[in-house]
Amino acid sequence: MAPSFEQLDPEDDYDGEEEIDFSDLREQYEVRMEEGLDTFIVIDGLPKVTPSQKDKLVKFLLRKLTSVGRTKEENVFMPMNEAGEESEGFAFVEYESPAQAAAAVKALHGTALDKRHTIAVNKLTDIERYGREGRIEETYNPPQIAAFEEKEHLRWWLGDAEGRDQFVMYRGDNVGVFWNESAGAPEQVVDRMHWTESFVQWSPKGTYLTSMHTQGVQLWGGPNWSRHKRFMHPGVNLVDFSPDERFITTWSHRPMEVEEGNPVLSLEEDGKNYIIWDVATAKPIRSFVTLDLPGPTQDEEGNPIKKKIQWPAFKWSSDAKYVARMTQGQGISVYELPRMNLMDKQSIKIEGVMDFEWCPAPPQRDNIREYEQLLCYWTPEMGSNPAKVGLMSIPTKNIVRTRNLFNVSDAKLHWQSESAFVCVKVDRHSKSKKTTGTNLEIFRVREKGVPVEVVDNIPNTVINFAWEPKGDRFILITAGEVTQGVAVPPKTSVSFYCPEKVKGNAVGNFKLIRTVDKKNNNAIHWSPAGRFVVVATVLNQQSFDLDFWDFDFEGERDEKDKDLTANLQLMGTADHYGVTDIDWDPSGRFVATSASVWKHRMENGYHLYNFSGTLLREEPIEAFKQWSWRPRPERLLSKEEMKNVRKNLREYSRQFEEIDQAKKSSANKAVVEERRRQLEEWLAWRERTQADLLEERRELGLPDLSEEREALVVDEAEGEKVVEEMFEEILEEHEEVVE
């Protein structure tokens, strides 16, 4: 037992200090010099000054130094040369904490003092680490290039013999990829638990499947669904690809906190929200902070206002040569890939700019041969200046076309998928500031001088607009005024437009084909191949209808429509309770509609329709979250080849039908076989248990049938049972009043 304090004899003082070996403790508690020096920085490149000038220089430096951290005059040490006549041109500064020192390095390194002096600011420990002799080899050793490793074929799924499409389903904790079968249940390709933490996303050409995690983003692909790339972005919320899949943008709501020594991220990324990555190397190219929209950050009671973020904030040009971000009200910053440098070293100033969109395909303007991309943007009315819509050519920054507009309360920009048109949906208000209607200003980009066609006389507010992909027709949905205090949203009308027939190759004026009133629809989903479209009601509690329309119906044409380039026909309607999402497969043959648990908990699952609205399959799935078709890259067939396919369509469809038929009959056969087996098995089991039971009953001396089964046996002698029923019928009813 160790002696306690009281038991220690005060006389018997411990005096053997010398004998005890403290070396282990000393080692443990030794102040690590390098760690203690973390608060020091070294400033190089200072002007050489005489002792009399020194104080002035130190004061001048201090102003800069204290802007990022706390230090004092006596903590700035500027050594003089041996003669004491002149300073050495460098200084040591001690800050209060290593963090301040790090911030100073970050902020002040490379700052110009005047025209001749630019200071280099480094941590003292870094100088110790790298600056000492022998720390860095004098001769250049080329880096080791790792041996070539063959990657999996990333586009393997396109080689499917039956040309099937894939889709991903996220339900419960599982993410599964399936082959879509034209008949029967989808065939599972892979299914993994906890593959993602929030959602999954395909890259634009379908090469990768993106999974989201707290630590960052991962890309998966190839026939084994192995991990191909990992992008570390703590707390990432959203992700966006460039159209060619070479770059990826990740965004987190909270600014990143990067500690020194992070293998992927550098201090450059600390405090940023966006990172733009190079997919091939999985290295960050440049990072940015979120730009808050202008306006108050707090409401009247001082609560912070939640601002909607614009997504994607970084918009890619169709060839991914540029990515642009708008600073609302001020201008657009265009960055050039792959270096992510600001084009011409400055942002494009557009006062008041509210929104912009890149053209989605390389533009083909009349008489323009040079390479260009187009940006469409709009600015609101400012003072006495009218609102403006502009088309700008990049990289020349020439304004191709502008149009002045008046009484504008809002505008939305809609490019047609081939950049042939851009439609600006303009919400107009009267002088009293009450919104009265919508105009469509359609810029005909391909025609000489970019003429603008105006479609007006739209009485109500347009809530949705969509161009036909690769076509020149469009649909818009208008809604009546919202009645105050009524939970039911106003009825909507769906209007279909197409160009008039004109001679030659030109596109005629846009004309209304038809308006369907008293609908609830709010969503337009065109087939990716055009012609067919689903107009639907999503995220609505009362109605959930899907209308399947054909713009080129092959039947009789209405006399009044003979001048139009469309023959509109409703092919079918369907009903999917609680539908939240609609997704066309990339071939335009199937439409998947789903009810996601993210939006509500009722009847989650999916329906699969063909393009004409025939229900092919429905599957209720517990905790169904997401459905997404795997996109396909652009076609490799030349125009001639495609024409050939179209010409020989009959021959091809005959072949496909044969395959389908064979598949169907073999599937049917399998089902029948399985049923036959089940029935045989069941009957055999029944026979066995019945025999066993009978034997057991007889052994126990009981009758063959139990009492309860005996009750059912109708006695032969009794014959048919007679059931007597009494009916009472009231023939007449009298009511007599007795005085």
Binding site: R675, W682, R709
Partner: protein
């Protein structure tokens, strides 16, 4: 055919049972009332009054002389079917959740609820089928279930050989009906999804269990092996087996009663679902209730079935001829094969 609506209860139905000849229907409800009805036309035959609490369960003996009922007033009562006379009352510390006669009608099982301070108990009494005779007070067997999770349903197998119980954790147990020894436990349903019903085939050699895990399973009585599984899209409250030669099972359920007010009838899935017993495929649904189905029962004759709902109605459906004619191709093929 148009269903017959039995309107007599004011609160949710808890169990409905056919007499063994199929001519009478006995229904119990939370309104303290036991009713008997003619299955052919839905006319009320009579009521058995006396219980002081919500009724949970009812059963009738093979000769339709004795009727046993169990209720939340912690009693099991025995009645004469014909006269409505109360013959015997057994008192317990907790509610009676299940009563069942053995197939010969000579034994009666009672299951009491597990409540604070009291465990689930299974009692078996020897019953004298004569309504004039006095019935025993003491059970011939008493099983106190202390080591297994709460018992929700129980039944007696063919030849009164086993007692089978369903538990709140989704497991099924088999006990020796003579000694009360636990023989075997099978974990058939999803963990912690309670077994809501257990009904026998006509000869009690196999049985069906329904569960909140949205499935019903067919079990072999002696091995507890799962023979078939029927997957529904809603929590199930009850499942019944149609007597041979038809090969169907009927499942009933719907969203839990407490959630019903928040959803429409369409949402609640208040339908009786018919599945093929052997192929496990859904064949059809019968709509009508506007609350979850708490119990489904098939007449031993196989000519009709009835369902008792949370909505307070009993719906009796007599099957139409197509029901008896419907056959899968392999079944038809087999029948023809046997004929020639």
């Amino acid at each position: 055919m148009r269903p017959i609506l039995l309107q007599g209860h004011e609160r949710a139905l808890t169990q409905v049972k056919f007499s063994k000849e199929g001519d009478l229907i006995f229904s119990v409800s939370k309104d303290h009332l036991v009713c008997a009805w003619y299955s052919a036309n839905g006319e009320r035959f009579g009521a058995y009054k006396g219980h002081q609490g919500a009724l949970w369960t009812v059963d009738v003996d093979p000769s339709t002389t004795l009727l046993a009922t169990g209720a939340a007033d912690s009693t099991m009562r025995l009645w004469e079917v014909r006269t409505g006379k109360l013959l015997k009352t057994w008192d317990y510390p907790t509610a009676v959740k299940r009563v069942e006669f053995s197939e010969d009608g000579k034994q009666l099982l009672a299951l009491t609820e597990k409540r604070t301070g009291h465990l689930s108990n299974i009692y078996v009494y020897d019953i004298n089928p004569d309504p004039e005779a006095s019935q025993t007070e003491e059970p011939s067997l008493r099983i106190t279930v202390d080591e297994l999770p709460r018992v929700t349903v129980a039944g007696i197998s063919c030849l009164s050989k086993y007692i089978v119980t369903g538990h709140e954790d989704g497991s099924i147990s088999q006990w020796d009906a003579k000694t009360g020894e636990l023989i075997h436990t099978a974990f058939s349903h999803d963990e912690n999804q309670l077994v809501s019903d257990l009904q026998w085939s006509a000869d009690r050699t196999y049985f069906i269990t329904s569960s909140k895990d949205k499935t019903a399973k067919l079990h072999d009585t002696s091995s507890l092996e799962v023979l078939k599984t029927y997957v529904a899209d809603t929590p199930l409250n009850s499942a019944a087996i149609t007597p041979e030669p038809t090969q169907y099972v009927i499942l009933g359920g719907g969203q839990a009663a407490m959630d019903v007010t928040t959803t429409s009838a369409r949402q609640g899935k208040f339908e009786a679902r018919f599945y093929h017993k052997v192929f496990e495929e859904e064949i059809g649904r019968v709509r009508g209730h506007f609350g979850p189905l708490n119990y489904v029962a098939v007449s031993p004759t196989g000519h009709c079935y009835c369902s008792g709902g949370e909505d307070g109605y009993v719906r009796v459906h007599h099957f139409d001829p197509p029901y008896f004619d419907f056959k899968f191709e392999v079944e038809r093929e087999r029948e023809q094969g046997l004929r020639f």
